[in-house]
Chain length 109, copies 2
C-alpha cells in the first residue's frame, strides 16, 4: 500500500481523522484561525494539534500564512472543490447502477 501518491486519496485520508475534519469544519465556518485558536477543538496537546495541521497542509487542504510568530490557517477552496467534483461526478451512472445490478444477479427461482 505504497501508492499514496494519489492526491485524492491523500486528501481523504487527511479528512478521515475526526480532529482534522473538525479543524476543516471550523475553518469553513469561522474563517482563518491561528493554530492556537484551534486548540479548543480537541482535548489534545499543542504538538498534536500542530501535527494535524501539518497533515492537512501537506494534503493541500489548508493554507498556512505566517504572521510574525503566528501561523494562520485557512481552507484551500480548490481542494474541497476537487473532492466535490469527484463525489458528484458521473451522476448518470448512479441511476443506472441498480438496473445493472440485476444483470449480475441470478433469476429469482
Amino acid at each position: 500500500m505504497n501508492e499514496s501518491t494519489d492526491p485524492l486519496a491523500i486528501r481523504f485520508a487527511a479528512l478521515g481523522d475526526p480532529t482534522r475534519l473538525a479543524i476543516v469544519n471550523r475553518l469553513k465556518e469561522r474563517g482563518p484561525q491561528s493554530a492556537g485558536d484551534l486548540g479548543d477543538l480537541a482535548d489534545i496537546s499543542a504538538p498534536a494539534m500542530s501535527r494535524h495541521l501539518k497533515v492537512l497542509h501537506r494534503a493541500g487542504l489548508v493554507r498556512r500564512d505566517v504572521d510574525k510568530q503566528r501561523r494562520i490557517y485557512s481552507v484551500e477552496p480548490e481542494a474541497l472543490q476537487a473532492i466535490g467534483s469527484w463525489s458528484i461526478g458521473r451522476e448518470e451512472f448512479w441511476t443506472a447502477s441498480l438496473d445493472r445490478l440485476t444483470t449480475h444477479l441470478s433469476p429469482k427461482e
Copy 2:
C-alpha cells in the same frame, strides 16, 4: 481520538486508502462487480481485498448483495452525495475567506 462515530470521518477514512478509492472508482465506472472481479485492481491477496470491501461496506459507501456464493458490490449513491454536499456546501464562505484572512494579518511594515 476515540470520536470515530462521525459518519463523515469514517467515510473519508475509508476512501483514504488508495486501494479502496480504486475500488469505488471501478464500481462507479463499470457498475456492480463481484469481489473476485475486483481482484485485479491491486496486487493483494483475496483476504486483503475482502477486508477492504468490508471497510467500505461498514462505512456505508458500498452495498453488498449476496448472490449464491458471490457477493456483488455496488456504489451507495447517497454516501457519495453526502460527501459532495459537505465539500461544496457553504460556498459563500470561500470567496469571503481570503478577505477575512487579511483581518488576521498584521499591516505590511
